[in-house]
């Protein structure tokens, strides 16, 4: 946490309201995000309890598992989830625009432009909290290796038809969420925390209800009071007024309400199975569906506050104008979405359990690039973020006082104007340090030449910079490409665009230091479904 963020938090403590950390919205929000509020059974790895899902805040779709230990009911839940999520994703898969991509011709090794399809938009998924993202990954992992009856008629417990496909998509979304600045799968808490500083610690900020209480406290109440209520207040039955945003449930809810309801359901089911005639069976079926309805309404009761909170958070975020470079990052998300669509369509196997060394290295490298790019873009989009970088000496704002034309001493002299800038900031400049400014959205490079020795009485110093590029090909710089006296310009010491590192070898060329080339059995092993036992959950 930088000092400027700490200061914002302290201001929030003092004022009783969250303080802005950004003046624009740094993540793209689509017009129709799909919100998913999942719940899981405590202590079980792959046993979802229920979910609210949908794109319409007024009409969430409620999915519930009456007995989480029953494999058939879990499969029914996953099939229903697939029916809720996949049509949303697929509605974006066919709306495409032509785009170009650089590809290396394997025969000649030359780079060529290839015409490809790019989805004009992508399905966006929003979950309440970081634990929700982990749960999406877990669901993806649990589903993508399942076999349906169509894949393999002999499989002991076939999964419903679209479940493995949902697993692959959720895995992709979960993986993409690890790329800094990506917006395919977002969490409400991270989104809000990026844009506001509350008067509590970042640990407490993971509580969606408390976080919203700080950002938008109810009338007549301070953020701290409202947050405390969100954390602790319970109703007459001892249930939290603001249930945890999931996927974990409150133990008191499990013990006092859910466990008895599940027990009633189990009893009703046993009774139905032992019914001896049609009349008794009808009555017991009624009991069973009553018990199921009760569980559904219990789950709806603890998920609805979270559902509303996520949408309220989205409302608050939409009040901020979107940062101009967020669109650029969303385009990368669209590329990622399109690439996965193509992999699914071309019949590639599901993502392996573990990445091979080359893929893992590539992912790490691309995430590092994305992180650096995100930091640069946020600073360029947002004066408040830039202020943090200026405080750290990584950027400075200055007024141009003088421009002197000089030229290179080659046969065809190129312009190298010397620009003198007055600033009261103290950036970390060394000799020939490169600095950058944004010129019509593109970075222009300059290098630091010298500084005037003594600051004047206002604490201002004069810095001399030499402009190096983006002035056109002629002897005279293109109009508008050289700063003019009086211009107030933000210079950064960090690059605006990140170049990727050196190319990594093909998987077949993996060096021995990284485990060597994958063996012949690697491909077949990755595809094996998880072995299933008669009772794969307790």
């Amino acid at each position: 946490m930088s000092l400027i963020t700490t200061l914002a938090r302290l201001e929030a403590v003092d004022s009783g309201r969250a303080q802005p950390l950004a003046t624009v919205r740094h993540r793209h929000l689509t017009d129709r995000p799909l919100v998913l509020v999942p719940l899981t059974t405590a202590g079980e790895a792959g046993a979802p309890l229920g979910a609210l899902v949908g794109t319409d805040r007024e009409a969430p779709r409620l999915l519930a598992v009456a007995q989480p230990r029953d494999r058939d009911l879990r499969f029914a839940f996953l099939a229903e989830l697939a029916e809720a999520v996949l049509p949303h994703i697929e509605s974006y898969a066919d709306v495409v625009e032509p785009a170009e991509r650089n590809e290396t011709d394997p025969a000649t090794g030359k780079k060529t432009k290839v015409e490809v399809e790019l989805c004009t938009d992508a399905g966006q998924l929003i979950v309440p909290s970081r634990a929700g993202v982990e749960f999406v990954r877990l669901l993806g992992r649990s589903m993508r290796f399942r076999r349906t009856a169509e894949d393999d008629p002999d499989t002991p417990y076939p999964a419903p038809a679209r479940v493995p496909l949902l697993g692959r998509w959720l895995t992709h979304y979960g993986e993409r969420a690890r790329v800094p600045g990506s917006s395919l799968l977002l969490t409400a808490t991270d989104l809000l925390n990026r844009h506001w500083a509350t008067g509590q610690s970042s640990l407490e900020d993971q509580h969606l209800g408390a976080l919203l209480s700080w950002i938008d406290p109810p009338a007549g109440s301070s953020g701290a009071e409202a947050a405390l209520r969100a954390e602790l207040a319970r109703d007459g039955e001892g249930q939290l007024l603001c249930p945890p945003a999931g996927p974990a449930t409150d133990p008191d809810f499990d013990n006092r309400l859910l466990a008895p309801a599940i027990e009633r359901y189990d009893r009703a089911r046993t009774a139905l199975a032992s019914a001896e005639d049609g009349l008794a069976a009808d009555a017991r079926l009624g009991e069973l569906s009553g018990a199921e309805r009760e569980i559904r309404s219990l789950l709806a009761r603890v998920m609805l506050p979270t559902w509303d909170a996520v949408w309220r958070g989205l409302d608050l975020l939409r009040e901020l104008p979107e940062g101009s470079r967020a669109e650029d990052r969303w385009t990368r998300d669209r590329w990622s979405f399109t690439a996965h669509r193509d992999r699914v369509r071309s019949g590639e196997p599901p993502q392996p359990r573990r990445d091979d060394a080359v893929t893992a290295a590539q992912k790490l490298a691309s995430r590092e690039t994305a992180q650096a790019q995100l930091e640069a873009q946020e600073a360029l989009d947002d004066p408040l973020v830039l202020a943090g970088r200026r405080l750290a000496g990584e950027a400075f704002l200055g007024t141009v006082t003088d421009v002197e034309m000089t030229y290179t001493e080659s046969k065809r002299p190129s312009p190298r104007p010397l620009v003198t800038v007055r600033t009261d900031e103290r950036p970390h400049l060394g000799e020939r340090t490169k600095v950058y400014r944004s010129l019509e959205g593109k970075p222009q490079t300059a290098e630091f030449v010298r500084a005037e020795e003594e600051p004047d009485q206002d604490g201002d110093v004069l810095l001399v910079l030499r402009i190096l590029d983006r002035m056109g090909r002629g002897k005279e710089p293109a109009p508008g490409s050289v700063p003019e006296p009086g211009d107030r310009i933000a210079w950064t010491l960090f690059e605006h665009d990140q170049r990727g590192g050196p190319k990594l070898p093909d998987p077949e060329e993996t060096p021995w230091t990284h485990g060597g080339p994958p063996g012949a059995d690697a491909a077949t092993r990755a595809e094996q479904p998880d072995p299933v036992t008669p009772e794969d959950l307790l």
């Binding site: 946490m1 000092l3 400027i4 700490t6 200061l7 914002a8 938090r9 302290l10 201001e11 403590v13 003092d14 802005p20 003046t23 624009v24 059974t41 405590a42 202590g43 079980e44 790895a45 792959g46 989480p68 877990l138 992992r141 649990s142 008067g199 509590q200 610690s201 970042s202 640990l203 407490e204 701290a224 954390e231 602790l232 449930t249 409150d250 133990p251 008191d252 499990d254 013990n255 466990a259 104008p321 359990r353 573990r354 947002d382 004066p383 408040l384 830039l386 202020a387 943090g388 200026r390 405080l391 998880d530 072995p531 299933v532 036992t533 009772e535 794969d536 959950l537 307790l538």
Partner: protein, 344 residues
């Protein structure tokens, strides 16, 4: 002393509890792992930590450890450990009881299991119900399990010190469900580091008698006392609240309320305190940032003022930008009908 009851009496009840689903699952998994005299558990252990010893056969000793009271059980456990080590075979101790001195008073610990190897090595076994998916488990949960096991290792070492040819393994066996099944799988966790850390912390703990000696005469934590008295009693033991306490201590919400009321900056996180140097209260920091207090020569104060100025400037420029944008939009809106008319 029950801190949970005390917290309730103070008006800030602890929000902890365990779901019966998790509890049942944990117990069922442990029972499955230890079924058949621990055959599956010993197979996993032998596979990963067997060394050069012969494989455990059906003759593994499973001594009965029941006795009256924790002291009795701890003594029974020590005896069983000694006998098993002397016998020179495999032995599985199910839920042994160990004693460890914490801040001058004995604490009793109950590991899931301890296995005695034929070569006299003792291995702590932790059985957890969180899954190991594709051979990796949640790092924070594994860390917690390792810290817990390290305490058991320390307690076992006290017994081993008085037992001939006994040695406590610094590598413990963590048993978890494999992927999404209930089949057990195991992983060896090296707890040398956690053991060293715990040991150091235990030696540094202030002894309970010393804390008690520092309290005013007649201080009581009896939850039946009026809450003001309790409040004063709790305040007599100076807390060091940080947000991490919320996950561990029943009194954390009480301490947090006190810390916030004092305006302590630690309530926002330990790192915040580090950043702010000698300034410890919210009001003090804000006054320094606003230029009302503090020595401008102090680097923290100077940095704070600079941060405050930069933040204010950025917010102002954004407000101006937005106002401009709003104006431009309204002008454009007003201009449209005329423009449209001109078009016609």
């Amino acid at each position: 002393m029950d801190k949970g009851v005390l917290a309730t009496a103070l008006g800030s009840p602890a929000p902890f509890g365990q779901s019966q689903f998790a509890f049942m699952r944990g117990n069922a998994f442990e029972a499955k792992v230890k079924a058949d005299g621990g055959a599956e558990l010993l197979r996993l252990l032998y596979e990963r930590l067997g060394g050069s010893s012969p494989a455990p056969g059906p003759d593994v000793a499973t001594p009965d450890l029941s006795a009256a009271g924790p002291e009795g059980r701890a003594a029974r456990t020590a005896l069983a450990l000694r006998e098993a080590t002397a016998a020179g075979g495999w032995a599985l101790l199910d839920h042994p009881m160990l004693a460890l001195e914490v801040a001058g008073s004995p604490a009793y610990l109950e590991p899931d299991a301890v296995v005695v190897h034929p070569d006299g090595r003792w291995t702590v076994v932790e059985i957890k119900s969180f899954p190991m998916i594709d051979s990796s488990a949640d790092a924070s949960k594994v860390g917690a399990a390792a810290r817990q096991a390290a305490v058991y290792v320390l307690a076992l070492e006290r017994v081993a010190a008085v037992t001939e040819r006994a040695e406590v393994g610094q590598r413990v066996l963590l048993v978890c469900p494999k992927d999404f099944s209930n089949l057990p799988t195991a992983s060896v966790v090296d707890v040398r580091k956690q053991r060293a850390v715990t040991r150091r912390q235990l030696t540094r703990l202030t002894r309970i008698e010393d804390i008690a000696a520092g309290l005013p005469e007649g201080t009581t934590f009896d939850p039946a006392c009026p809450s003001e008295e309790l409040d004063a009693a709790v305040a007599a033991v100076p807390p060091a609240y940080a947000p991490e306490c919320l996950a561990a201590c029943e009194l954390a919400f009480h301490c947090r309320a006190k810390s916030r009321a004092e305006g302590a900056v630690e309530a926002l996180g330990r790192s915040v305190r580090g950043e702010l140097g000698g300034l410890t209260t919210v009001a003090g920091v804000l006054a320094a940032a606003a230029g009302k207090e503090g020595d401008p020569a102090d680097p923290t104060v100077a940095a704070l003022r600079r941060a405050a100025a930069l933040r204010a400037e950025a917010l102002e420029s954004a407000a101006v930008l937005r106002a401009d944008a709003g104006e431009a939009a309204s002008v454009a809106g007003a201009g449209t009908p005329e423009g449209a008319a001109a078009c016609r």
